[in-house]
Symmetry: C2
Subunit: 162 residues, 2 copies
């Protein structure tokens, strides 16, 4: 199991994360015949402004700054759209959204999340799927979706504990 982005490495070139995410989004929208409207693209950019999951209500002021006088339903619609295309993941324990690092290959939501700085690093869980499939099959459960959250303290925040 591996981290699939550099979220915990504060030296990484984050512009590269953002431009990659936008490129991916355009391709995926194209392929699925969906439109990446200005609002949707902006919401995606905002979600990708860091590796810290953002709540819908944190996006609203940023949308306003960009000249969109949007209300909650508009933000939730954009988030739903991006979520359905697998461009973002929802972190249930935070009620917040974070960009997906590998949307070209649909996969479960799985993250390490720092309780201090809130940074969420996506992890790759293919090695766990066999176990999950086994327990599901054993009980006749049709597995459709997975949310995996590993919560704790990232390396940076461990250093600066009180």
């Amino acid at each position: 199991m591996l981290e699939i982005n550099d979220a915990f490495n504060s030296d990484h070139n984050h512009d590269h994360c953002v431009s990659g995410a936008l490129d991916n989004a355009k391709v995926i929208c194209q392929e699925s015949g969906q439109r990446l409207t200005p609002i949707r693209e902006l919401v995606l950019r905002l979600v990708w402004s860091s590796h810290k999951p953002l709540g819908a209500y944190e996006l609203l002021p940023a949308l306003a700054d960009a000249g969109f006088n949007s209300a909650p339903p508009t933000v939730y619609r954009a988030l739903d759209f991006l979520h359905q295309l697998g461009l973002i993941h929802k972190i249930g324990s935070l009620n917040a959204f974070v960009g997906c690092s590998n949307p070209e290959h649909p996969h479960p939501s799985a993250f390490m999340i720092c309780r201090e700085c809130k940074t969420a690093a996506e992890i790759e869980t293919s090695e766990l799927q066999e176990s999950f499939n086994r327990v599901a099959n054993t009980h006749g459960f049709q597995l459709e979706e997975e949310n995996i959250e590993l919560l704790g303290l990232c390396s940076d925040c461990r250093g600066s504990e009180s």
Copy 2:
């Protein structure tokens, strides 16, 4: 990885689940020097009234029926108390709480959850811990808590799909 309760077997003796949960709670409160007050015990009973996670606001009317004229803070306090002792788990994607089937041995929250009937069956994930520890160690992440949710359709609900 195994299911650690019979949530998906509607024929199981659920009174046994409830009485076991209450017995466990009394022992655990005793051992930790905490008080299982009437409200806390009732909230635990209500959470255990089925294997479907319940939200705080679903508990309020049931508390009222039992003669407690409680407001949200009281319910949340009782839920927090039970959660801290490991007697219940929170299902992040549902904003709801469900009884823990094995509180004597503290462990991560891990469930199969039916999107149709909402039944949540706790699963045992010790075989996954090595993978989780490995990814955490690799990135200097201090793992403290885990939320694992497998979402889909239970066997009963697969049968009665439209």
